[in-house]
C-alpha cells in the first residue's frame, strides 16, 4: 500500500494526463467516452473520457463551477448528456442499479414517511414484496450498526441522522454504484467528521463503487482511493491521483506524512488549475 508518491514536475506544469483512468489501471466499472455537455452555449464537457474503477472510492475535486456535480449528475442520468457514451460494465444506465445521495437531505427525503418507510420505499419501487423489503431494511440497519430511531419522521431527526437515512435509502437496493453529491456540506463540522467515519465504514463493509463530489480537499483525499482533479471548464482531468493510504483511516492518518504530502500535491494541482495557467 505504500506506493511511491508521484513527483510533481514543476518544470512542466502543462503536463496533463491524457489517459482516462488512474495510473495503476484497476478494472474499470464506469467508462465515460467522448462526453459532451453544454449549458446555454457554454461548453462544460467536451471529448471527456474517464474510467471509474470497480469497488473503489473516487473523490471528485476541482475549481468552483468546473462541473464537479454536473459530472456525477450526467453519469447518474439526472441531467441528460448532449453527446458521448457512458457505460456501467458495458451496460446502459437503465440496466444498472445506482444510488444517489443529495447534498440537500431535507429536500431529498420524504417528510410524510417515517425514516424506515423512506428506506423501504426504494425497495417498493423495485417491486420487492413488503415483508421481504422490511426484512432487508432491518438487515441493512443491523449490518451498518446504525443507532437511530427509524420510526421518527425525517424532520424529527438531526441533519446527520437524516443524511444517514438518505445513504441507507440509496444503499438498500444494493446499488452497483453510489454517487454522493457534497453529502456533508450542509452539516456542522462535528457532524461532518462523524459522517466521514460512517461513510468510510459503509464503504469498507459494502465494497460498493463510490463517487463522491466534495468541496473539501481534506475530505476528498481522506475518503478516496483516487482523487479525480478537474480543470476549469471545459473540464479536463488535471490529475487522477491514487491515494495509497491504508484503511481504516483515522485521525492519525490526517497527520501522517504520506497523507499530508498527497494533500499538498493535490492542492498544488488545484491551485494551478484555478489560476488556469
Amino acid at each position: 500500500m505504500n506506493a511511491p508518491l508521484p513527483v510533481t514536475d514543476t518544470a512542466a506544469p502543462q503536463r496533463v494526463r491524457q489517459l482516462p483512468g488512474p495510473a495503476d489501471k484497476p478494472p474499470a466499472h464506469i467508462t465515460v467516452r467522448g462526453l459532451y455537455k453544454n449549458f446555454n452555449g457554454s461548453v462544460i464537457y467536451e471529448n471527456f473520457d474517464l474510467d471509474i474503477p470497480r469497488g473503489k472510492f473516487v473523490s471528485v475535486f476541482g475549481p468552483n463551477g468546473c462541473g464537479k456535480s454536473t459530472l456525477i449528475n450526467l453519469i447518474s442520468g439526472l441531467i441528460p448528456i448532449d453527446g458521448g457514451e457512458i457505460l456501467f460494465d458495458g451496460k446502459t444506465l437503465a440496466e444498472t442499479r445506482i444510488g444517489y445521495v443529495f447534498q440537500n437531505y431535507r429536500e431529498a427525503l420524504f417528510p410524510w414517511m417515517t425514516a424506515f418507510a423512506n428506506i423501504e420505499y426504494a425497495l417498493k419501487l423495485r417491486h420487492v414484496p413488503k415483508p421481504e423489503a422490511q426484512e432487508r431494511v432491518r438487515k441493512l440497519v443491523a449490518h451498518l450498526g446504525v443507532q437511530i430511531d427509524l420510526t421518527l419522521f425525517p424532520y424529527q431527526m438531526s441533519g446527520g441522522q437524516q443524511q444517514l437515512v438518505s445513504i441507507m435509502r440509496a444503499l438498500v437496493v444494493e446499488p452497483e454504484v453510489l454517487f454522493l453529491d457534497e453529502p456533508f456540506s450542509a452539516l456542522d463540522y462535528e457532524m461532518t467528521l462523524f459522517m466521514r467515519e460512517q461513510l468510510q465504514r459503509i464503504f469498507e463493509e459494502t465494497g460498493t463503487t463510490m463517487v463522491l463530489v466534495s468541496h473539501d480537499l481534506e475530505e476528498a483525499v481522506y475518503l478516496a482511493d483516487y482523487v479525480l482533479l478537474l480543470s476549469r471548464r471545459p473540464a479536463r482531468i488535471a490529475e487522477y491521483q491514487m491515494v495509497p493510504v491504508a484503511r481504516p483511516r483515522n485521525d492519525a492518518t490526517l497527520a501522517s506524512p504520506d497523507f499530508v504530502e498527497l494533500k499538498r500535491h493535490c492542492l498544488e494541482i488545484f491551485q494551478r488549475e484555478v489560476r488556469g495557467s
Binding site: L78, E107, W112, L125, Y155
Partner: protein
C-alpha cells in the same frame, strides 16, 4: 416569556367586549331596541339553538356549505392536479382563474339564478364556484412547486412518471392543498350566508339574521350573527386540527 396564566389572555378581549357592550347599553349610546343587552342575545342564542328555529337554520347552513365544498373538491382537486402537472397548461388558463377568483362571487348571483332558479342548488353552486377556484389555484400551485430534489430522488430510485406523480408530487402538494381547502371553506360559508339572505331563502343562518332584522327582533339577530361566527370559527378550527394531523410535515 410565557407565564402559566397567559393561556387566559384570550378571555380578556371577550370580557372587554361584553363589558363595553353593557356600558354602551346602560349609557344608551344606541337605541336599546337596536342594542339589547348581551344577556338578552345570549338567552336568544340559547333558546334558538335548543329546539328553536336557529337550530334548524344552523343545520341548513352547514349542509349547504359542506355540499358546496364537496362539489368544489370533486371538480377542483383533479383539475388542479392536471393543470399543475403541466406548467404551460396552467399558464394558458391562469388569467381566467385569477380573474374569476378575484370576481366577488356575489356578482355571480343573478347569473346563477337565471340558470338554476331559486332554490338550494343556486346557493350551493355559487358557493362551490367561489370555493372551487380558490382550491383549484392552491392545488395547482402545490403541484407546480413540488420540490425538484424529491422528484429527482424518486426518479433515480427507478420511479416511473406515474409513480412520481402519485407518490411524490401529490404528497408534496398536500400542504398547499389544505391551505386552499381551509380558505375555500371560509369563502363558501360567506357566500352561502349571503345567498341565504338575498336569494329567496326560507331557512339558513343568513335567512335568520335577515328575518330577525326585518322583524326588529334584535336579540334574535345578534344570536344568529354569533351562531354564524361560531360556525365559521368552528369549521376553521376543526379543519386546522385535521390539517395538523394529516399534513404533519407541513412547514417543517
Amino acid at each position: 416569556m410565557t407565564r402559566p396564566s397567559d393561556r387566559y389572555l384570550p378571555f380578556i378581549g371577550v370580557l372587554a367586549l361584553v363589558f363595553f357592550w353593557y356600558l354602551g347599553w346602560a349609557m344608551r349610546v344606541v337605541d336599546p331596541v337596536l342594542l339589547p343587552p348581551p344577556h338578552a342575545a345570549a338567552i336568544a342564542l340559547w333558546k334558538g339553538l335548543n329546539g328553536g328555529k336557529l337550530y334548524a337554520d344552523f343545520g341548513f347552513t352547514i349542509w349547504r356549505t359542506i355540499a358546496s365544498i364537496l362539489i368544489a373538491c370533486v371538480i377542483a382537486i383533479p383539475l388542479g392536479i392536471v393543470l399543475g402537472a403541466s406548467e404551460r397548461l396552467y399558464r394558458s388558463v391562469e388569467f381566467i382563474i385569477d380573474f374569476f377568483r378575484s370576481t366577488p362571487a356575489s356578482a355571480m348571483f343573478p347569473l346563477f339564478l337565471v340558470i338554476f332558479g331559486v332554490g338550494d342548488r343556486t346557493k350551493i353552486y355559487v358557493a362551490a364556484f367561489g370555493a372551487g377556484l380558490v382550491i383549484l389555484f392552491n392545488v395547482a400551485y402545490g403541484v407546480m412547486n413540488a420540490r425538484k430534489t424529491r422528484i429527482l430522488a424518486a426518479q433515480i430510485m427507478g420511479a416511473s412518471r406515474w409513480r412520481v406523480m402519485m407518490d411524490v408530487v401529490l404528497m408534496e402538494s398536500m400542504p398547499q392543498t389544505f391551505v386552499g381547502l381551509r380558505n375555500g371553506i371560509s369563502l363558501a360559508l360567506v357566500i352561502v350566508v349571503v345567498a341565504e339572505m338575498f336569494l329567496g331563502s326560507v331557512n339558513g343562518i343568513g335567512h335568520r339574521v335577515f328575518e330577525a332584522q326585518q322583524m326588529f327582533d334584535m336579540p334574535d339577530m345578534y344570536a344568529a350573527i354569533f351562531a354564524a361566527g361560531a360556525l365559521g370559527y368552528g369549521l376553521n378550527f376543526l379543519f386546522l386540527i385535521f390539517e395538523k394531523s394529516f399534513v404533519h410535515w407541513s412547514g417543517k
